[in-house]
């Protein structure tokens, strides 16, 4: 029998200060990257604009593409290689040329120069300013709804403390993932948002199994004599093999998606891979630890007023 952790008894809660430090560091690096790059790079789903994906028969030079586009006044176009030296994405932000006609212009410009050879238009996307704004709003609502849904669910099934701790852990995962997206210069698109929402669900998933174990232990064994931190630590350890094993299989699946899923899915798969890793980490090191600190804080507050009374 292969066993990753036979009867694990790691002191996760005891090392929670280090975990907080590590998390703060990760998030800080992500935030610095975000701020220095002027926020997330929105893809046209959110920013609006026109995108044309072209595949040439023979790999052209980017300078040639740029020249032919400049010929029709599209100097502002962003040209990116897309997964293959023959494949490119030409993107135009929303502007005065804001219309679906831009795609046709691009097509004509690429064909007109004659130096670029045969090509095929594989994808055209245009998102108007109104739609982009609506999608931005919807994205914010969706993330809030997901977080609120999880909070409510855990608060109802377990307790408010657990719910809040899980949501903080989720926020941690989202921040780390968004930071990773920014560090790797990836774009925030609708599928990436879907990935983030999935991360929210996945991250809570692990946490809830540990909570459930904690509750089961308390019901079965009683709480007498054992400090709260230790109880949580035990629950995390007892569910550790499941947490890690599931994380591994999910990690395999998302990693393969990242490697073989193609360029269109790359950012989406990347967000999922990061999310699975950070979601597992936050379950083990953050969610339980937060409850412990919160409980300690509340207990401290209960004791402190008495002192205050004594002083007065």
């Amino acid at each position: 029998m292969i066993q990753l952790f036979a009867t694990p008894n790691y002191n996760f809660i005891g090392r929670r200060r280090w975990a907080y430090l590590a998390s703060a560091l990760f998030i800080l690096v992500g935030l610095v990257s975000l701020v220095s790059k002027g926020g997330l790079r929105y893809d046209i789903d959110f920013a609006g604009g026109t995108l044309v994906q072209v595949r040439f028969e023979q790999a052209p030079r980017v300078a040639d593409i740029r020249r032919s586009l400049a010929g029709i006044g599209l100097e502002t176009a962003i040209i990116q290689e897309f997964g293959d030296p023959r494949e490119f994405i030409v993107r135009l932000p929303l502007g005065d040329k804001d219309s679906t006609a831009v795609a046709r212009q691009i097509q004509q410009a690429l064909g007109g120069a004659g130096t670029l050879g045969a090509f095929e238009i594989r994808r055209v996307e245009f998102v108007g300013p109104q739609v982009g704004r609506d999608l931005q709003l919807q994205a914010i609502y969706a993330v809030i709804a997901a977080a609120a849904g999880m909070l409510l669910y855990i608060a109802l099934r377990f307790d408010l403390k657990g719910g809040v701790a899980a949501i903080v852990a989720v926020a941690h995962d989202v921040l780390v993932s968004v930071g990773a997206l920014s560090l790797t210069d990836r774009e925030f698109s609708l599928p990436v948002l879907a990935a983030i929402l999935t991360i929210i669900g996945y991250s809570v998933n692990d946490t809830i199994v540990a909570y459930d174990r904690l509750r089961e232990n308390r019901a079965r064994l009683g709480v007498r004599g054992r400090p709260f931190a230790e109880q949580i630590n035990t629950a995390i350890n007892q569910t550790l093999s499941r947490t890690v094993l599931t994380a591994l299989t999910t990690f395999f699946a998302t990693l393969l998606l990242l490697v073989f899923g193609g360029k269109v899915l790359e950012d989406f798969a990347f967000a999922l891979v990061v999310g699975v890793v950070t979601g597992t980490y936050s379950t083990v090191y953050i969610a339980g630890a937060l409850i412990v600190d919160w409980t300690h804080y509340v207990e401290g507050r209960v004791r402190r007023p008495k002192k205050a009374v004594a002083k007065a």
Partner: protein, 522 residues
Amino acid sequence: MPRYFWVRVVIVLAVVLASVWYLYPLQRTINLGLDLQGGIHLVLGVELDKHLAGQVERAAEDFKIALDRKGIATRRVVSDGAARFVVELASPQVWTDALTVAREFTGFAPVDQDQAAGRFVMAIDERHTAQVREDAVAQAVERLRNRIDAFGVAEPTITRQGADRILIQLPGVQDVERAKALIGQTGLLEFKLVDRFLEPDVRVEELQRQLPPDREVLFRRLVDPETRAERRVPYVVVHRRALLTGAGLTAAAVSADPNAPGNWQVNITFNPAGAQRFAEITEQNVGRHLAIVLDGVVNSAPRINERIPGGQAVITGQFTIEEARNLRIVLGEGALPASVAILEERTVGPSLGADSIRQGMVAIIGSALLVFIFMLVYYRLSGLVADIALALNLLMLLAAMAAFGATLTLPGIAGIALTIGMAVDTNILIFERIREELRAGKTVRAAVDAGFARAFRAIIYTHVTVLVTAAILYNFGTGPVRGFAVTLFVGLMASLFTAVFFTRLLFDVFYMGRRRLQTISI
């Protein structure tokens, strides 16, 4: 024999058979999203504000006519651009009569009355506004559907989105420009009497300022025969009010333009009432020019030589055969009540879709293989049980998608890959629990029972979290993201069935047949 053993066997067999039934043959049973099979996704915005302004302008004209009929003279009746029109009476004496007419006028009510000046404002009422908007969108959806049907697209989707948007999905359509032209064209055909022709170099702004309110300048479309680049040049001054519109059309047909080789024209036929009106108009205006105006642009302005009784007219212009065919469809299916703007467009070519399917399949098969091997190595015989459950899970996932007519999109494929990773989670939960019970010294049978029982609650909890996620994704997402939510949801349901019900059955078959089991391969 465990309880209900055969009942459970029958249920599982029924599920497997139903799944295979729904999936056969695979190519035809699974709907592929636009991102996989290629096609056009458009979101149109119906320009309701413009439409409403037009309605108010028309109501102002009708109101003036209503007053005229009662012999009430007006100085002016003009819309002020804010869903209202201002009425100024010629004299305050007719005030009471005018107000009576105003109160009976449908959809509008008199406000801001100033009896001394003989002036009041007609404001559109809320209910009427809502009705006008509602009708405009509903009619636009219907007419667009008819146009697309006439265009010939297999399984198009035309649905309303929100108050003023229409989502159109045309799977497999490659001629994007033609489809867009067909959809975006309002198709409003009007016949207006020509006042005078203009020189192409006329100063339009200046001219427009001098014109009386019931006249307007119209342009003509000129096409370069080589590049097909379009130009609009000022052409005529016409009477603003249309004598006849395309609403009375019964048929339209395309034919070659006899006067301009290489160009095409559209022949139209009016219904009896339209033909009657057309005959009257031509009779009353012999010797004058009649402008045929399509979506505000003059098509031609032929001279009326005699009364035209048959209700036949020809729309010429430098049309290519495609443009002429589009125009035939647009005229035949009726004008859109309001103009539409393309707010979002996504077009995917078939080759990209095929690449996506191939890459997605590689990812799915790769994940499945990795997870299969992992479970087999880690849990041995029990891992095999989990693998069989996983296979059934995938089968059920695809079958459910086919049965519900759900659409598989590229993120949906990603959803399947993710499901593979997460589906074994329930088995891992159970197996780890069984191992724990075994370590605690329980017998095999007791450990298996306890493992399933204790893991059950956690399994339900974890499923609810993913369920919430899938529901939110479905609610907010469109197209591909929605496809992802659907696969996530269906995969989840399948995994609940396979892990809790099917795996338990397999355990019963593998391990429980022998009464005194000493060891278990887990």
